[in-house]
């Protein structure tokens, strides 16, 4: 018996509908083709509901609803919008266990993460943007005695958002909260791997949101995502995913001359300097945990600390200690509170991870622990489980250069500060990084030298609202998780006003 009952069984906190249509204009709308696709839980590999297979006609219907709602929504006061966001947060808090179970069943992540991390962060995100939009002010610049430049924030109108499958609810909220706080209406396409938990949430909060402000169209990327991203009827597109699609989305955006925000992943270094092991104390223990963070969300995190850089003097001892910590990771049923690592989100993700374990071995990397699929037996035998894996190798290997998006860390040794920075920055990406040292001067210099948008210093994988998140280099454009995200969803209106009664004298 698991701590939380599986959906589909009597007594489960999360009850899914057998079938989900699109959510358009405040109600369920059947797909125009009448077609549905099956939605599988990675926990067992079994189908648990059907989901609308949307296309361009469905996207257009959603855009119609969003455009109809946008003029009125864009004129609501910031106060009114903030009150709505806070009510959504309160409603989520009151239903947190049900939402967490739904998210775990959808994505495979352990319930302790859904319950104590993902959903609390999503709730807080609404509250953060409720506060941010209330506190946001325009400006009045006195350019000279008679001339004033007024700056107003205006919503963009209708925006498109394409959501990834690794944090189906949290990543949707990261995009939704600032967009609707700023007065926009949204057409959102969830990932086809995890299409339903956002509907589960919407069902709980639907009475709080005016019709047409948030619309959800499900379907495959090529059939529903592409018509959304390429539509001339959106004023902005936001995407989290990989680089080819990111480029394609920019290409479509260039045809419509609209802005994009992109979060395209990373290959984040987690750097441990010698002095980390100066004492065998609480800080050392924290550093060992910091290394093991590669297993958070089964490694399916854009900022997964998937390159472990350990300084030469402590290399053997530290690697030994983190290997023991990694071996202690408890895999099991994702609905058990003691489970630390759950299922990979989909069968294709499982296949991809296995293909990387293969090329890692072929390139000569040494498997320190793990390195294969995990068979957890029983009802989990059909689920998508991988052993947490530590590879030892060199930074030129492909397992050091590509985001595997699995519970796999590739470890290498460095010799001194400069060598650490050289290895850390030898990557196409620059999303996250970790620096561990007892010397804050080293920490500061490393943090500034690493070309990444977020450098966790003596911590990792914290995502509090108010800390900007986004990429350098090929990792993308824009900063989420911070009030500056409002800028990505707003126009600036300037009124340039002359209070002088006199002409210039030119004509």
């Amino acid at each position: 018996m698991t701590d939380f009952v599986s959906p589909g069984q009597p007594g489960s906190k999360a009850v899914f509908l057998p079938r989900y249509d699109h959510w358009i204009n405040g109600k369920f709308v059947k797909p125009s083709t009448g077609q549905y696709f099956e939605n599988v839980t990675p926990v067992t590999g079994k189908v648990f509901c059907e989901v609308a297979r949307g296309n361009a006609a469905d996207i257009d219907l959603a855009l119609d609803a969003a455009h109809a709602a946008a003029p009125a929504w864009g004129k609501t006061s910031a106060t009114e919008r903030a009150i709505m966001l806070n009510k959504i947060a309160d409603r989520m808090e009151a239903n947190i266990e049900a939402i967490a179970v739904a998210e775990t069943w959808e994505n495979g992540k352990p319930i302790r993460e859904s319950l104590y991390v993902d959903i609390p962060l999503a709730i807080d995100h609404f509250r953060y943007f409720a506060a941010a939009i209330r506190a946001q002010e325009g400006s009045a610049g006195e350019l000279d005695h008679d001339t004033v430049a007024y700056h107003f924030h205006e919503p963009l109108g209708v925006v498109g958002q394409i959501i990834p499958w690794n944090f189906p609810i949290l990543m949707a909220i990261w995009k939704l909260a600032p967009a609707i706080a700023a007065g926009n209406c949204v057409v959102l396409k969830p990932a086809e791997q995890t299409p339903v938990s956002i509907h589960f949430l919407m069902d709980l909060i639907k009475d709080l949101i005016p019709d047409g402000v948030v619309n959800i169209v499900n379907g495959f990327g090529v059939e529903a995502g592409k018509p959304l991203a390429s539509s001339p009827r959106i004023a902005k597109i936001a995407f989290t995913g990989e680089t080819s699609t990111g480029r394609l989305i920019m290409q479509y955006a260039s045809e419509n001359i609209i802005p994009v925000t992109l979060e395209l992943g990373g290959k984040s270094p987690n750097i441990f300097f010698n002095d980390v092991a100066a004492e065998n104390d609480a800080f050392y223990d924290k550093a060992l945990e910091g290394f093991t963070m590669f297993a958070v969300n089964q490694g399916e995190v854009c900022t997964c600390p998937s390159r472990g850089l350990i300084e030469a003097k402590i290399y053997d001892k530290f690697l030994g200690d983190v290997t023991a910590r990694t071996k202690a990771i408890k895999q099991g049923h994702p609905l058990d509170l003691s489970t630390m690592m759950g299922a990979q989100a989909s069968t294709d993700q499982l296949e991809k991870i296995l293909s990387y374990l293969d090329i890692g071995k072929k390139e000569g990397a040494k498997v320190i622990t793990g390195g294969e699929r995990a068979d957890l037996g029983g009802e989990l035998a059909g689920g998508y489980y991988v052993l947490p894996t530590i590879f030892e190798g060199s930074n030129k290997m492909r397992i050091f250069q590509e985001e595997i998006f699995g519970p796999v860390i590739s470890v290498t040794k460095f010799d001194g500060f400069d060598n650490a920075m050289e290895i850390a920055n030898d990557t196409l990406y620059g999303l996250g990084a970790g620096v561990w040292t007892r010397d804050m001067n080293t920490a500061y210099r490393a943090g500034r030298a690493i070309q990444a948008g977020r450098v966790w210093t003596n911590c990792y994988h914290a995502y509090p609202a108010g800390a900007a998140f986004g990429g350098y280099k090929a990792s993308g454009i824009g900063r989420e998780n911070h009030k500056m995200m409002l800028d990505h969803y707003q126009q600036t209106k300037n009124l340039l006003v002359s209070y002088s009664p006199n002409k210039l004298g030119f004509f």
Partner: protein
């Protein structure tokens, strides 16, 4: 001396490419990188994805039953980290990713890799690669 191929396909992939060509018309691949569905070979209508001077032509598939060879591209910066490995585009069960054309078929293209042999590597490293512009 014949230049070894950098990229091949499995018969399962070829079968899917024949099907997708029949449905959509001529195709291309762009090898992705990065988050989520990164590392997936993305299959698009030919010309859908605009390649340029920052893309390398990794290879072309001449597949029986398909009139036009299918070009396989990769961004030049990514190629620098991949160039020492031979790629095989395979097909597995799945949900596709990004805007790749196979998703509705319940399948997904997957790139498998091996290291080049010393013999292959010697020839390849002295052979130029062409770019998209």
């Amino acid at each position: 001396m014949e230049i070894p191929s950098r990229v091949d396909y499995t018969e399962a992939a070829a079968e899917m490419l024949r099907k997708l060509t029949a449905i959509n018309g001529p195709l291309m691949f762009h090898q992705s990188g990065g988050c989520c569905d990164g590392s997936s070979p993305m299959c698009y209508l030919e010309g859908e994805f605009r390649v340029g001077a920052q893309d390398v032509l990794v290879g072309e598939f001449a597949i029986e039953g398909i009139e036009k060879p299918i070009k396989v591209w990769m961004s030049a910066t990514q190629f620098e980290y991949w160039r020492h490995t031979h790629l095989t585009i395979d097909l597995v069960d799945g949900r596709g990713g990004g805007f790749s054309l196979e998703a509705p078929e319940g399948k997904r293209f997957l790139t498998r890799s091996r290291l080049f042999t010393d013999g292959e590597w010697e020839i390849l490293e002295s052979s130029p690669v062409s770019r998209g512009a």
